[in-house]
Subunit: 155 residues, 2 copies
């Protein structure tokens, strides 16, 4: 019951955002029965290609609870997360994802989620954005420094 | 030659960030021979799980050039991008990626990039974070509204 209520709210946020000139996506994050973060797509408004609804909701929730981990949280999103947002959901350690529209629905509306998912399954050299590894002597040094460090904040 | 110079700079930024208490990652974005954006990992510092080096560099570059697209840009990053950052690179329409350490190097240092890449290739029901699609009558309405809209800012 609550899943349905929160998901309907995420869709309502997406619709309101289109009316306000934003993209057709909304998301919210719930912990222990309370909404702790909300987001709508603000890519064009903020000139920020990372400002997807789920990203904004995660950033809002983390700010509100003063933690970069969202253990025990559920994210409700009007559309299946794109790879960027899904990655962020993993890094945030969210427990569960509930979504309404699919990435194929997004594609039909002009949003290239499926294309990006397809790219991920290709080898580096077959992708439309070339990925070049350069061998440099010092490549491992940041990690070596990190591993030696005591009292670091792990994340 | 320039690729090497910029990539060394990204690694130097990663090392400096560890000294400042941050994560061992740095990235910069170059357009027409100028650095237009820089970022280091600030997840713990900002309480923001999306604050990876590449994300911060993309957001910085977009702010600086006042555009959410980075056509004609190259991103130099001390480590192979994680799925979140790679997704953001696609959404930003960056031309090319140059990186030093690999996702396996990152895994050895305790960063779960490889794990997240593996999750992406699993079916929804096999993933460690459950993804539940809920069928709702109004799921397509945000997209329908978007498609009908005239004079929208496409992104």
């Amino acid at each position: 019951m609550n899943d349905e209520k929160y998901l309907r709210e995420a869709i309502a946020m997406a619709k309101a955002n289109v009316k306000n000139g934003g993209g057709p996506f909304g998301a919210l994050i719930v912990k222990d029965g309370s909404v702790i973060g909300r987001g709508v797509n603000q890519v064009a408004h903020n000139n920020d290609p990372t400002a997807h609804a789920e990203m904004m909701a995660i950033r809002d929730a983390c700010k509100n609870i003063n933690d970069f981990r969202l253990y025990g949280c559920v994210i409700y999103t009007s559309c299946e997360p794109c790879p960027m947002c899904l990655g962020a959901i993993y890094w945030a350690h969210i427990d569960r994802i509930v979504f309404a529209a699919t990435k194929d629905d997004a594609s039909k509306a002009g949003f290239d989620d499926s294309f990006i998912y397809d790219e991920f399954s290709l080898a580096h050299e077959q992708r439309s954005i070339p990925m070049q590894k350069m061998v440099l002597r010092e490549a491992a040094e940041p990690f070596e420094q990190w591993l030696k460090l005591e009292n670091k904040t792990k994340y």
